[in-house]
Symmetry: C2
Subunit: 204 residues, 2 copies
Amino acid sequence: MAKTNKNQDTEGQILNAAESVFQKKGMDGARMQEIADEAGINKAMLHYYYRSKQLLFEAVFSNAFSLLAPQLNKILNDDSSIEDKVKNFTHNYITFISKHPYLPNFIIQELNRNPKFFEKIQQNAAFPTLEKFKNQVNEEVEKGILKPIDGEQLFVNIISLNIFPFVATPLIKGFLKIDDKAFKKMMEERKVSVSEFIINSIKK
Amino acid sequence: MAKTNKNQDTEGQILNAAESVFQKKGMDGARMQEIADEAGINKAMLHYYYRSKQLLFEAVFSNAFSLLAPQLNKILNDDSSIEDKVKNFTHNYITFISKHPYLPNFIIQELNRNPKFFEKIQQNAAFPTLEKFKNQVNEEVEKGILKPIDGEQLFVNIISLNIFPFVATPLIKGFLKIDDKAFKKMMEERKVSVSEFIINSIKK
DNA sequence: TTATGGTTTAACCATTTGGTTAACAAAGAT
DNA sequence: ATCTTTGTTAACCAAATGGTTAAACCATAA
């Protein structure tokens, strides 16, 4: 930064505030004034640093996505067996999301609003790819380690089981008639029960 | 209706247009003018029939929810075995949602925005409850038909596997690098593969 | 025919909202 | 010291938006 930086990182404060507001209310529901208030600064500063609501939003979105991507890379591109991958991913992912509960819904929602964001993000270096995972599933099926299953379907199943409860939290709380504490307990149990559920289904 | 009803159901046209716009853009993103345009009528009519954006939205939301609820009742409150329930629900649900792809995301999104909507809806008569399903799972586990599993966890797994791909369609298309046609084909396959996946996991 | 009352429209209104501007403050740089 | 660049603010602006109003429309009953 060639900037004089008289302040103590106003730019960062803005990004934090924007993250909080955008993730809770989405692009359409978020208000620039609310972000400014939460950052404790003048609204004009938002435009000084980020030009427009759109650009500020994109900064937040990229940031959020680059938090999630490495999590996926774990299951897609390390060298352990499918069984270990499922166990590790499920445990790590649920732990991670419990700390960032707004993240998955935010990304899914905004991707629905504008599917072209995906391409924008995809150019990122560490972008996860499915090839290795699919090959590995095929191998383990051939070796007789796994029952016959399509790698893509398995991938969709894994992320569905892990992510959905965090995306649909109010729905699940409602149907199960449980409060926040019980929900957290249930997610804690899922760190194990989900991987058991998957392994049970695919292991020969 | 004590109304003269000179028109051919303007009220219905409004509701249809509102459904389409709200489900695509959400409460915050939807514009009253856009709804009026899509209905082919004057904006003032929206207020004439529904008073406010909020009330129009609630009409759409209730409507949407009462489409989904009976689908869930099928798995929760009929008399077939768990295995048959899983098979039927998976097949029926994916078939149903393929015809209303915006529905699950709309409901989940707006429930996230305002969790109190759940209570509002819950007073509905045909509201599904989990008790019977949980008892049935316990029974079949005791009888040795199913491996030990918690009914609530199983329920969450079932709806996760069925609903998530429709909520996160752009994400899945992106990771799998597939177009709309391939996505539809994949969902078609899931009508069978998801229930196999679940049954494999829980059946003794 | 003409009153009546629900229905429909164009024009209007107040507020909200993203964004701009001009003036000012705080650091360097010269 | 003063000049220049960067950071910050209050006041302002134009457009968009949800909502209102008053007049017109039109089917029907008296």
